[in-house]
């Protein structure tokens, strides 16, 4: 579904991603692992069109590279950015509304908001509250719900469990499994390697902008590199 080859991202003179290639098959969960600064977020931002990149990115057989972020989400790729980044002074309702406004209108937009509230009952309770007043976990749910308003076929999740209490982290991973079962393809960037590899079909380990290891979730969980670097064993 998504084919990335020889992707490079530079910020000025600093190369953040140095020729990364991987693929995300339709209906799968693929995880990118790596330490801070390994180039995971830059990879997602490049796919979403937020940062300039070289190399090739193809989605459903057609090239993506060079298109602005506004157009890429219309092609069916939504990014839930690191740090949730809900619009704090806007209500939950308005956050969801803006998530869908460019993709649907009228009755269809309403249906999508209702579907989001069904899936995330907590957002229903908080519907008229400012998003900035929500807890971290609630904001993460809102951020994902807002991304889903675009009805994407590929969801990019950047560190969805970062900074959340363990109980909430469980909820986030349950949600990812649920979304996958509903047919959504997911590219996940995570620090929580243990949980991510449990649900991942495929994984890649990035170090200083390059892929140093690839395999199925189970293979990576057994590999010495991952055990030493990312799993607390």
């Amino acid at each position: 579904m998504l084919e990335v080859s020889d992707l490079k991202v530079k910020y000025g003179e600093v190369a953040a991603v140095k020729g990364v290639s991987f693929s995300v098959p339709k209906g799968s969960v693929v995880v990118l692992l790596g330490a801070n600064g390994a180039g995971k977020s830059s990879t997602l931002n490049a796919i979403s069109g937020l940062v300039a990149s070289t190399g090739s990115i193809a989605f459903e057989g057609r090239p993506l590279a060079g298109q602005p972020a506004e157009d890429i989400v219309k092609r069916g790729i939504a990014l839930t950015p690191e740090g949730r980044r809900v619009f704090p002074s806007l209500s939950v309702a308005d956050n969801l509304h803006l998530g869908g406004a460019a993709h649907a209108s009228g009755a269809e937009l309403k249906t999508r908001i209702e579907a989001a509230l069904d899936r995330f009952p907590i957002l229903h309770e908080r519907y008229h509250q400012k998003a900035g007043l929500l807890s971290g976990g609630e904001q993460q749910m809102l951020a994902i719900a807002r991304s889903l308003m675009a009805a994407p076929r590929l969801l990019l999740l950047d560190e969805p469990s970062l900074g959340l209490a363990p109980l909430i982290v469980d909820k986030v991973f349950d949600l990812i499994v649920d979304l996958k079962q509903r047919g959504l393809t997911i590219l996940l960037v995570e620090q929580n390697a243990e949980r991510a590899l449990e649900i991942a079909d495929h994984g890649y380990v990035l170090q200083t902008g390059q892929i140093v290891l690839a395999g199925t979730g189970a293979e990576l969980a057994r590999s010495d590199l991952v055990k030493q670097a990312y799993l607390a064993e």
Binding site: P81, P88, L90, L98, A101
Partner: protein, 295 residues
């Protein structure tokens, strides 16, 4: 008693004009961090809109419409041809661009129209006074207050009820994420300029209603005041801009009314001195812009 009420009316009416101008600056600043010093020239363009409308004998309400329309079009043109190409520039680059736009427009007015003031005929009723029994209110201050209230209400409804308005508020908090939602950056920015142009147009009408003429430098003083008002309120904060505008208007009227005659020439020094005190008390302004929390 009468004099106090009179001064309150004056303060609200003047503060309203500053509030509209400061809002115009804040709407754009909150989204692209541009302090648009060409905002005053948008006022001037609106003034010439009124002048030309009167020259072809359009009735006054159409002249008001022409003023707002001219300012909106001018705002959109400066966005498209001056600020959009400079989008990647830093805050200083944008600021200098706005000085350039301002200077170019002034030269166009001076050489293309006239360096001298052009009279803008006002309806004769504008000179009138309404007697409320306990207080005499001039038509112009009253109209200013009504227009300001209507404009602020309309803007509030726009920002809270429409998708584009919500998108503008979201853009002020996190523009990148708004783009991730598929909402076009260029469109949101253009709308912000159009709104700021409309506000400048309305302010220009109120400004001209007090003086009855337009000249190439007309916008210079008001935009400086608007900038001061926006800073008092908290740069980039919309409610702050309104608060700052009214605060500045009230200060000016207060000092004008109650300073001894010998000190009156130094009114602006007193006002700005007070502004400094406000900023020492609240360095980020009265109502600072919300900063998106990033974890």
């Amino acid at each position: 008693m009468d004099i106090v009420l009179q001064q309150i009316v004056n303060a609200i009416s003047l503060g309203g004009i500053y509030a509209l101008l400061a809002l115009g600056l804040a709407v754009v600043f909150s989204i692209i961090s541009l302090i648009n010093f060409a905002h005053g020239e948008l006022m001037t363009v609106a003034g010439y809109g009124m002048f030309f409308a009167a020259a072809v004998s359009l009735p006054f309400p159409f002249a008001v419409g022409a003023a707002v329309l001219f300012a909106v079009i001018a705002a959109l043109l400066t966005e498209r041809f001056a600020f959009r190409p400079m989008r990647k520039a830093d805050a200083t680059g944008l600021l200098l661009t706005s000085f350039a736009v301002s200077a170019i427009l002034r030269v166009i007015f001076q050489n293309g129209i006239s360096a001298r003031p052009k009279p803008v005929p006002l309806p004769s009723g504008f000179a009138g006074v309404i007697d409320l029994g306990f207080l005499h209110v001039g038509i112009v201050p009253l109209l200013s207050i009504v227009m300001t209230a209507l404009s602020l209400t309309a803007l509030t409804l726009f920002l809270n009820r429409t998708t584009l308005g919500k998108a503008m508020r979201a853009a002020a908090e996190d523009f990148q994420v708004l783009r991730l939602m598929g909402i076009k950056a260029n469109r949101v920015i253009a709308v912000a300029f159009a709104v700021s142009g409309a506000l400048a147009g309305i302010a220009a009408v109120l400004w001209i209603a007090q003086r009855g003429s337009v000249d190439p430098l007309m916008g210079f003083v008001p935009v400086l005041k608007a900038f001061v008002a926006a800073v008092i309120g908290g740069l980039g904060s919309l409610t702050g801009a309104v608060a700052g505008g009214f605060a500045l208007g009230i200060l000016e009227v207060l000092f004008q009314a109650f300073l001894p005659d010998a000190a009156l020439p130094f009114r602006d020094a007193f006002v700005l001195g007070f502004v400094i005190l406000i900023l020492i008390w609240r360095p980020d302004g009265l109502i600072p812009a919300p900063v998106a929390r990033r974890s």
